[in-house]
Structure formats: C-alpha cells, structure tokens
Amino acid sequence: MSIFSYQHFPVYAIMVLFLGAFLIAAIGRKAPVRHCLAVLASGASLAFMIALIQPVMLGGEIIAYWMGNRVPAGGYAIGIALEVDALGLFFGLVVTLALFASVIYSIRYMAHDDNQEQYYILLLVLIGGVLGLILSGDMFNMYIMVEIMTISAVALTAFRHKVFGALEAAFKYMVVGGIGSTCILAGVIILYAQAHTLNFAQLAALIPGNLNTATKVAFALLFIGFSTKAFIVPFHPLAADAHGAAPASISLLISGVLTKSGVYGLIRLTYVLFQTMNLGTMQFWLVFIGSVSMFVCVTMALAQHDFKRLLAFHSISQIGYVLSAVGLCTAMGISSGLYHAMNHTLFKGLLFLAAGAVLHETGTTDLDKLGGLSKKMPHTTVLFLIGAASISGIPPFNGFASKWMVYQATYMKAVESGNIGFLLVTIIALVTSTLTLASFVKVTQSVFFGQLPKEYENVKEVPFGMRLAMGILALLCVLTGLFPGLVTTYLTEPATRAVFNAGGYINAMMGSGYAESVMGANAPAAQAVNFAEVGVWSPISWLCILMIALLAICIVALSSKYDRVSENQGAKVEGKYDLFFGGERSVYSQVGGDDLFWGFKHNWRHYFGFMHELHSGVVNDYALWAVVALALALLYAMIVL
C-alpha cells in the first residue's frame, strides 16, 4: 500500500491537525508563519476529507485502517483502528469545513488578542479531537478524543478571560462536561468488562445479542455522555454560556462541530453499537428529547438580549430538529436530519461570524445597545440576512430545503405508524420555525436596522479576511439550498445507507463474514433503503420569484422617480428626510431587543418567568439536571431495552 493511497487519508487528516498544532508551538512565534501553518493544516485536512468522497461516498467503500497494521488475530481486535464509512465521512467533511472557515476568520478577528499561538494550538487540537472521535473505530480512543475536545473547548471558551462571564462559562462547561466524559469512560469500561474488546465493530457484533444489566447501564451512560456533548436538553445552559462567552470563531466550532460530534455519537450508539433503533420506545425517546430541545431552546432564545447567547439557544433548537429527524428511524428521517445537521453548521457558523464581526467593530453584543449598523456594515448585514433567512427556513436557502424534509419525514412517520404523537412533532417543528423567524427579526431590527446610536458613528466594515470566511459559508448556504438534489444524492443518501448498514460496518473491520458468524441469524444485513419517497424540494419556485422580482424591479424602476431621489440632495425643505416623530423633535428612540414581541411574551409570562428561574446559573443546579437525566436514562434502559 503506497503512502499516497487513500487508505491512509483518514489518519493523515487527523495527523496534520496535531502536527500543525505542534509546529505552531515550535516555530509559530511570528504571525505570518503561524497563520500559514494554521491555514495549511486545516486546508490539508479538508482536502484529505474531500479526496475520500470518491471512494467512500460514491464507491460505497468502508475504510478500516489499523494503526501499525495490527489487524485482528484470533477473532480479537487488539490494535487501534480508524474506520471511515459514509456517515463518518459526512461528519468529517462538515467538521473540517467549519474549521477551515474558522481559521480564515480568526486571522483578522483575533489579530488584537494576546497569546495567539496558544489560540491556534488549541483550535487545531480541538478539531483534531473531534475528527479523531468521528473517524475512530475504537471506544477508548473515542473517549480520549472526547476529553481532548472538551479540555481544549473549555480552554478556548475561557480564552478571552476578561470577557463578561467567560471564566464562569468555562467552569460550568468543565464540570458538567466532565460528568459527561466520566459517563462515557464508565460506559466504555463496562462494555469492555462484558466483551473484552474495545473495538467498535467487534462490540457492535457482540453486544446487541447479549444484552444484560451491565450493558444496559453502559448504554445509558454512553447515551448521557454523548448527550452532554451534543448539549441537548437538559444540558443546553452550558451551550448558551459557552457559545456566548467564547470568541466568535470558537462559537462557530462549538455550535457547528462539537454538537455534531455528540449527534454523531448518538447515531453510532443507537444505530450501530446497540442497534436499538427498531424499538418503538427508543424512537419515541429520541424524538421526544429532540422536540423538547427544539421548543424549549427557541423560547429561551426569544427571552435573550445578548446576540451570541441568543444564537447559542437557537443552535440547540436546531439540534433538536436533527435529533427528532434522526430518531424517526426512516430513510427520509435520517437523510433529512443529516442534511439539517450540515446546514446547521453552515448557517449557524455564518451567524456566529456575523455576531463576531459586530463585536469586533462595536465591542458589544448587547441587543439593547446596538442598532442601525446596516449603513456602516452593509456587507456584514447582507451576509447576516442570508444566515438568518437560512435558519428561519425561508426559501430558497438551505434551511428551507432540510426543514421541509424534516416536516415530511415526521408526517410520513405519523401516517405510517398511525401514531398521532409524531404529528405533534411536525406541528412543534413548524411553530418552532416561526418562533425562530421571530427572534431573527428581533436581531435584525435591534442590531442592523433601526437607529444608529451616537457612539457607533465611526464604525467601519470588517476586514476582508473576515468577510471572506462569512462569504464562503453564505455561498454554501445558498448552494445547498438551491441544489438539494445534489446534496442528497452525493452526501446524505450514502450516509443514510451507512447508518442502516451495521453489518457492513462490522465486516469491513473484522473481516468478511464476522458479523454473521458471531451474531448468527441476528446479523444486521445491509437494509435496502428506499429513497423513493424522499421528496426533494425543487427550487423552481425560487427561480420564478427571482424572475418576477427582477421584472418588478425593472417595471417600478422605469416608472417611478427612484432615480431622482437620493438622500439629502436638494433637501430644501428642512426635515424632509428626517424620520417622522409625530411633529416632535426627533430623538434617539431605538426599540430595544427586550421590548419586542411583548404581545407574545405577555401571554406566556408565567412560562418565561418559570424558565428564567429554572436557568439559575448555579453550576450545582446544572449538575443536578445532568444527574437526573442520567437517572432517567438508567431507568429507561433497565425497563425498556
């Protein structure tokens, strides 16, 4: 096997990141060297992932890579393995892409910070950890990568430790994240005690047929462990704190990448390792958690008045969509969930970077203090609007394409199973989408439109490097929205097949026929996945809207007096171009973010008051939530599994 063979690419993709981190530590004193190394490392990692699309996504190959070529002997996998199937590669692509955007953005965004070497080292190590987790085929390695990821994410959250609440957020993240990591470790060990192997594929062959009390406990522990990494309810306060306090380029990664690693872990755990997804209760559980996350977090977001904290709650709300869709256990559900997961990374990354741009120029993200920035930062405004439209699911952007599939998937599931509960999920998803729109209207009004406060008169547009990173993400938002057919064919459908192909996953690593010999008749065959019903939104209506809009603009521009009107020119009448104030002298009167949607909040004041009390900010409470969740998970596993 030549060293240039694609079989090696997974390990290269991880190695270049850690190597880049090491080199930055060694020779990265000078800024240009440092930036070059970071861009090269992240770019190379992305390139390796893209190069794998051909064999893995299109060719359907599952790459099993044994470190030091220590292949299994005597039916026992002793060596450490990487295994890349379409599902892993899908997440790998998302992760490395987000890293690349983040690095480009960081170059200018972090230019005024101290200790930039440490920043880039931690950044690369963080993503190295996530990529390692996603591509790993070994449970203990997964745990180590989780820890690498968590520790570097905590360090990066507290990186700007002078920022309001950064240390606090990092500490809470560390404590509750630590509980999650410990759960994963304990789960891994219990599985080892039962099966005497750490290899994921071998465990997947041995465990499902031999469920006993110990493995059920392990399942609950792993489930809670990965849930903390995905920040789903009840772990969402951590996400809100950490996203809000970290630098924007890190918020992108925490929201776009860390949550995805948790979702990946949950999918692997339920679909491949325990193969429990054919249980109706398991589906119900995932969908229930997803719906609760979706709704609770979107209402929490409505009550926020900090830009990034609001985005953070939305992040978890979108993860709720992903989890609900994935929990349906239908081809369409998984396909739409994965699609939405990818879109979430793109648009939420874009939004966080826009928030970072605002912070970079004005020094605050408080919605009550900002206003009217669109005149000063026109490009950022347009990019933000693309992101906002995407997350709210406005056609033709990508959020619409994937949400549309989520609605269809949940409704189809309701019809197929005859369970009216799944219909409720469709309704919750649709309402959540509207509430998402509402809170982005709030952000748009409070930050980019409205009146410009005096102190921001001298604000300028952000440097090109930052706009470039946002531009890449915005372009991808539009492209993945306009060509949903391509995305489903080349990315999500192979990944969905991989989800349903636990047998193939086992055999690729342990040798052909292993799954059948160990599991006998219960061996999970690669299920035929029917994509016929996977409807893809055809963006023809968008093309029409575009055409009509162009026509309308032409007609109106020709017929009206637009061209003769320009601001302040020929303003003979005093006050002609001032705002209308009912005849009074104009004063600064921006409607603050808190006051918007009063009519909605008033009716729900008890709910909002209750939620405000509940999110007390005391780390003990959050730890208690984690323990309660763990207890419930254990109870569930004991009763149902």
Binding site: I394, L423, L430, V431, F449, W537, S541, S560, Y562, G599
Partner: protein, 341 residues
C-alpha cells in the same frame, strides 16, 4: 422550440394569469368591494369600487422619499420582494382545473412563501429606522406567530382527509387536493372540514392584517407602524400587496374547501356537448369568473363583516384569540380528520 414555447407559456403565467395582471386586477377589485361593503354596513356611502386603482396609480406618481436614517436598498427592495412572493403563491394555487405549477408538497411551500410578504414589510419597516416601525414590526411578528399555528393545523387536517381518501395517508399537494375534490365533491361537506373551514375563515383576516387584527398597522396609535416612512410607489406596492394577499388567502380557501366546483364546471360543459381544447379554455375562463365571485363572497364573510362589527384588538388579545379559540377549532378538525370523519 418547445423550450421557447415553455418559456413563453411560463411568462404568460407569470405576467398575465394567474400572475401579475390577474392578481393586480382582482386583488384591487376585492379591496374595493370590501371597502364599499364595510361603508354600507356602517351607513356610509363609501368610495367607488374602483377607488383602490385610483389610489395605486396616484401613489405611483408621487415622489418617493427615503429617510436619511434608512438603509436605502433594503427600504426600496423590500416591497417588491413581498409582492413577487405573493404572485408566486398565486401561481401555486390551482384555479379549479388549471394549475400553473404542481409541486409534490406545495402546501408547505405556500406556507413558507406566505411568510415572505409579512417578512418583507417587517424588513422594510426595520430598514426605515422609525421607532413606530419598531413597534409595528414587533406586533406584526406576533401576529404571524399567532396565525401560523392554526393555519398549519388546518392545512395538516386537509392533507390528512384527502390523503386518507386517496389511500396514501397524507397529501401535501394542493393540485391533488383540488383534483380529488373535482372528482368526489367539495371537502366542505365533510364534518371535520366544516370545522377546519370555520377556523380558516378566522385565519384569513389575521393573515391579511385586516381589522380587527391590524394592531401592527394601527394608524391611530402608531401611524401605520412599518409604513410610517413609506411614500410614493413603494407605499403603493405595499397597498397592492395587501390587496393581493386578500385574493391569495381567499383563493387558497376556495382551493382547499370548494375545489369540487371544478368538477361541476366540467360536467356542465360536458352536458353542453363541449369537449377538446376549446372546452378546456372555456372551463378556465368560467373558472376564473367563479373563483372571483367566490373570493368576493369569502372576503365579505371573513373580512368585511368582522371589520364592520368589531373594534381593533390589542396585540396580546390577538395572540390569545388565535392560540385559544382558532387553534382549538383547528385541533378539533385535525382530530376528527385523524379518525376519518
């Protein structure tokens, strides 16, 4: 060659019927009828039925003032995007036997496209920088949230009833819903759909922002809210959008609940011995007239009557009303539909 023909066909769809021209004429006419009826109910003479047309052309001739504090591009583009979105929705709504587009799940597309006009007025208002617009957009958004839930429930109920009947479990295609009705009679005859239709009638004035659900544009307290800074042609476009939205919502109602009339037209033509291409054209022409009459009737029932009889609600009352009364009706209809009634 066929590509050119297709392009011309779609251009005609977009520009003439059921696109711009049709929307323009019938929307403003509906608006005029509404104003006249309301005036008569209030014992006023009222404006001529063609008054909205005069208003529109007059506004287009006026100077457009862009406030110094506004974001120019967004301020000027927002009204056009909203109008364009409405025209696109109109393309998706079948007129009895005729539909310009037929999507697999165009109901959800329509649901989302319906957000865009409201969003455009919100964006335009936000871009104007006026504090009145700030208050107005806040109320507009709450109105959207209020209306969205019952609307979604009603659409799901309709999809379920037709899907049940067709044996596919659900149907999200408006074209199929109308086609099914043409064959089996209008949905309004089903018990669950009567409830859904009542809920839909209540949704229409909220969605169009008509009295008493016009807190967002309350001219007496917040100076028309988001429109406070608009003048000239953009204001005219907003007024037009409002009129077209009335047409859109009422014709959506017709498509959802009264689609059986299309079958009636067909049978009538057949009994006259008309077949072939000519019959199709005549059917469409009759369909347009019938559609307009039905739209006018629904406008009178759901918009004018309520307008004349009630005073404006406060925004939190609007929210409460929609999420309790109307949502309750919609839930009842959905549950009935689920159990096959």
């Amino acid at each position: 060659m066929s590509l050119v023909m297709d392009a011309i066909k779609y251009l005609v769809y977009i520009l003439v019927f059921p696109g711009f021209l049709f929307c323009f004429l019938s929307g403003l006419l509906l608006c005029g009828i509404d104003r006249k009826i309301v005036a008569r109910m209030q014992k006023r003479v009222g404006p001529p039925v063609l008054q909205p047309f005069y208003d529109f052309f007059k506004l287009c001739g006026k100077e457009t003032i862009v406030p110094a504090a506004a974001s120019r591009t967004t301020f000027l583009l927002a009204p056009l995007v909203g109008l364009a979105a409405l025209v696109v929705i109109q393309l998706f709504i079948p007129v009895f036997n005729f539909s310009a587009f037929s999507g697999v799940a165009d109901i959800i597309v329509i649901l989302y496209l319906l957000l865009i006009p409201a969003l455009s007025i919100i964006m335009g208002g936000a871009a104007s920088g006026s504090p009145y617009a700030g208050v107005g957009l806040s109320r507009e958004m709450v109105t959207i949230i209020s209306v969205e839930l019952p609307l979604v429930l009603v659409l799901l109920a309709v999809g379920k009833v037709v899907g049940n009947a067709m044996g596919t479990g659900l149907c999200f295609s408006l074209t199929q819903i109308v086609a099914w009705q043409a064959e089996h009679g209008s949905l309004i005859a089903t018990p669950s759909m009567i409830v859904a239709a009542i809920a839909m009638l209540m949704v229409i004035p909220g969605e169009t922002g008509n009295h008493p659900f016009d807190a967002a544009e309350a001219e007496t307290e917040i100076c028309e809210g988001m429109l406070a800074e608009y003048s000239g042609a953009p204001l005219g476009v907003y007024k037009l959008s409002h009129a077209v939205k009335m047409l859109t919502m009422t014709s959506l109602f017709v498509a959802l609940f009264l689609g059986g009339i299309g079958g009636g037209i067909d049978r009538m033509l057949l009994s006259w011995g008309l077949t072939g291409g000519a019959a199709g054209v005549i059917a469409v022409l009759i369909g347009i007239v019938v559609l307009f009459v039905l739209c006018a009737i629904i406008t009178i029932i759901s918009i004018s009557l309520i307008h004349a009889a009630t005073a404006r609600l406060r925004i939190e009352q609007i929210f409460k009303y929609y999420w309790t009364v109307v949502t309750g009706l919609a839930v009842i209809s959905l549950v009935l539909a689920w159990y096959g009634m």
